[in-house]
Symmetry: C2
Subunit: 214 residues, 2 copies
């Protein structure tokens, strides 16, 4: 893959239902244009065939732009479209099982919600972890309650694994998150639901910079 | 795999919500005991992790008994538990894509609802097809209307690919279905919802025999 997902500043997830009538394809086009280097395809409602067709297009777009392309949930779909990675949750196939299916090349991300899960993610060989949800989010129906910033502080202090913060993050949060030690910030609605996606990404980047130590 | 799915008489699918409080594990145990040689794991509600754990047990049970084990919908799950096959629908990953992921060993079954889809299934390299739904079924929420027996007659007359009839089939239907040329009959509720699964399978077998040409 071109870049590890959590080397980059903004980790953008698709969410067509929050995209103000724009398609995932159109949103990703704008996100790539704004220089985002990691895109996760996250889709809960479409058929596997519809997702496959959409991901083939997104895979070409992201590859051409040198952008990492991660598929949420579906290991088979990730493999079928030769994604750079797959992201799963605590109730999906275990990371070692996925590693066995995908081989060494594919990045595996795992959502975690507690220090125990973070430690276990490392033991299982995850390449990076999601840390969240930090705030209340409306994009996941089955999500747990916000984990609180203490968990982020724990990961920053105690863990070596790359991580991305996620869950209800808005532009006004990112300065503090970066100040606390987050280097990669994941967002769905804040970006895909923006009136002007390019402007939104520039604002987020500026706010992230304010949190960086001089 | 031990046997091709459609060589066998009864193709039994799991359906825990119709199993009168019995677990999938318990139902499959009884189905195997009654001599059924093909079991499909079909589950729409559980987490991938829960399905994975259940399928590991079912895979061991079926392997020990020389029973073919097919996983519905989830190619990654089928691969992870080393199922004999995977069964997909018209809006899942295309058969050639699945073949590319699974290699040559895994059986691929495809649900079809029309002559056109049957012809295309052969072109795409499916190992067997589902022919149905023949009757009204309550186990699938997103299913199309019954295709009618004409489609079965078409497949018997015009297609060489192995097939299994499916969809709302009850014990009283199977004599006619076998008479029309079906050799493998798939059922969910009729079997898993039976008070006595062994008795039900014996009755179905007897009824199938009545349809066989002397």
């Amino acid at each position: 893959m071109t870049k590890k997902p959590c080397d980059t500043d903004i980790y953008c997830l698709t969410g067509e239902e929050f995209s103000k009538g724009r398609s995932n394809i159109e949103v990703v086009r704008q996100v790539i244009e704004a220089g985002v280097k990691t895109v996760q395809y996250r889709e809960k409602e479409k058929s596997k065939l519809a997702m496959y067709r959409e991901c083939l297009i997104l895979r070409t777009m992201t590859r051409d732009a040198g952008v990492s392309f991660i598929v949420n949930d579906y290991v088979d779909l990730a493999m079928a479209v030769e994604a750079d990675g797959v992201h799963v949750g605590q109730t999906d196939l275990p990371v070692p099982v996925i590693r066995n299916l995908t081989g060494g090349a594919m990045i595996i991300g795992l959502s975690t919600h507690s220090p125990e899960q973070a430690v276990k993610a490392v033991e299982m060989g995850a390449d990076y972890i999601g840390v969240g949800p930090l705030f209340t989010t409306k994009t996941k129906k089955d999500v747990c309650a916000p984990v609180g910033l203490d968990y982020l502080d724990y990961v920053v202090k105690s863990m070596d694994i790359p991580f991305v913060v996620i869950g209800g993050i808005k532009e006004q949060h990112v300065t503090d998150l970066v100040r606390r030690g987050a280097s990669c910030v994941a967002m769905i609605t804040e970006i895909v639901g923006a009136d002007d996606i390019g402007d939104k990404i520039r604002t987020i980047r500026n706010n992230m910079k304010k949190g960086k130590k001089p």
